[in-house]
């Protein structure tokens, strides 16, 4: 009990600093996933349209996922230096797999008879893609974004090792100062962030699914 009151007191006292760390954390995640969407969705579409390229693209993103997160950030740091950009690029690379894979699967899953109907209506390939295949694959894409968000929030806590901020700062300084409250404050906020992102994106995913059904 005494520990909880200490924790609450700590959070109240350092409220503004924790808030700015959280915002920084969210920004890193948002930039990383935004970039991954900009690059990953076209890659997924290319993989779905050109079957020969699909194994290459998917296995490339698979290999990226195999690299341990800390090692990935360390390697990026060698080339990009310390700072915000390094972690954003790291999060981008880490979010790529779920987004590319889910775009690919989503487009592949579109029912053949619907595509036939589109072709019968005289749609061109581009129209087919933009008006039928892509809109129908959005629930899959959102499932990918949801997974990517949870992973990115987790990897972003490693930010301080490569000179970026975020909630990892609180946790890592807690580890080195052996301060329980600092560790728990950072951990609880980061975990809540991941759980809320998971639930919120899950809700949106459910909504688009229902709209299409």
């Amino acid at each position: 009990m005494e520990f909880i009151s200490r924790l609450v007191q700590y959070i109240i006292e350092n409220y503004s600093e924790l808030l700015s760390l959280s915002i920084e954390h969210l920004l890193m995640v948002a930039y990383g996933i935004g970039l991954a969407l900009v690059v990953g969705v076209p890659l997924g579409i290319i993989a779905a349209k050109f079957e020969k390229l699909a194994p290459v693209i998917i296995s490339l993103t698979n290999i990226l996922q195999l690299i341990p997160s800390l090692a990935m950030l360390a390697i990026l740091m060698l080339y990009l230096g310390f700072g915000f950009e390094t972690i954003v690029v790291g999060l981008f690379l880490y979010s790529l797999l779920p987004i590319v894979k889910n775009t690919y699967v989503g487009i592949k899953e579109v029912d053949d008879s619907i595509i036939e109907a589109g072709v019968g209506n005289g749609m061109t390939t581009l129209q087919l893609l933009l008006k039928i295949q892509f809109p129908l694959s959005i629930p899959f894409l959102l499932a990918g974004v949801r997974l990517a968000a949870v992973i990115a929030i987790s990897v972003a806590t490693l930010g301080p090792y490569v000179g970026a901020g975020g909630l990892g700062k609180e946790i890592i300084s807690g580890i080195s100062l052996q301060s329980d409250v600092k560790i728990y404050a950072g951990t609880i906020i980061a975990t809540l962030m991941a759980i809320i992102a998971d639930i919120l994106l899950g809700k949106i995913e459910g909504k688009t699914k229902r709209r299409l059904a």
Partner: protein, 213 residues
């Protein structure tokens, strides 16, 4: 060429410590994998036999929350409870690997078609005979692929165990970040990937041998 010879000198100078890091890494990750399989696979099999859906979804939800906690946060939480070193790292990684194993084993067991089970029942098999002679052999490939994927992830996560003083290849990467030494970073990364890939290959072999037997 110069780079290569420099790198070889680095290896010849440091190979004993590199092997030490690698040994620690393998020790931690293999302990986690064995414990995780020993806990999750029987639990998942038991869950498929459970009548109550509430308990099932409760277990899945708990495992899901563990998975959502950022890795480093999970490791950091262990410090106030269990101190630093080998044991807290193993416990944290174990909690982390429960969900993928549970989910894969569960869906593997569920994929056994009810007709096969009915046929076994009709032949007078008892519940245990059915489990060991019918359901497990049929579900084996699914369960095994879940174990393989999780094992690869566990080896990747183990690099983070260095953050709470458990050692392993993460120590090499962290030292590399500290000294800005690319050889250390790359060696740590590549060895982690090599361990993961070779374990995956070995497990694949085992799977084939068991399947044939």
């Amino acid at each position: 060429m110069e780079l290569l010879s420099e790198y070889l000198t680095y290896w010849s100078e440091d190979y004993s410590s590199i092997l030490e890091y690698m040994y620690e890494h393998i020790l931690i990750s293999f302990t986690v994998i064995i414990l995780a399989v020993a806990i999750s696979v029987p639990l998942a099999i038991y869950m498929t036999k459970m009548k109550s859906n509430k308990i099932k979804s409760l277990i899945f939800n708990i495992a899901n929350v563990f998975q959502t906690i950022p890795t480093i946060a999970m490791l950091a939480i262990m410090i106030p409870i269990m101190g630093i070193g080998f044991t807290p790292a193993v416990v944290a990684l174990l909690l982390y690997s429960l969900l993928p194993l549970l989910r894969n084993t569960y869906s593997g067991m569920e994929s056994v078609s009810s007709e096969i089970i009915e046929a076994a029942k009709g032949m007078g098999f008892s519940t245990f005979q059915r489990l060991f002679k019918v359901e497990l052999p049929v579900a084996f490939p699914y369960v095994m692929s879940g174990i393989r994927v999780t094992a690869v992830y566990i080896i990747s996560w183990t690099t983070l165990a260095a953050l709470i003083g458990a050692g392993g290849l993460g120590d090499l990467v962290l030292a590399g970040i500290g000294y800005n030494d690319q050889y250390m970073i790359f060696t740590g990364t590549i060895l982690a990937i090599v361990i993961a890939v070779s374990l995956d290959l070995v497990l694949g072999r085992i799977e084939n041998i068991v399947k044939r037997a």
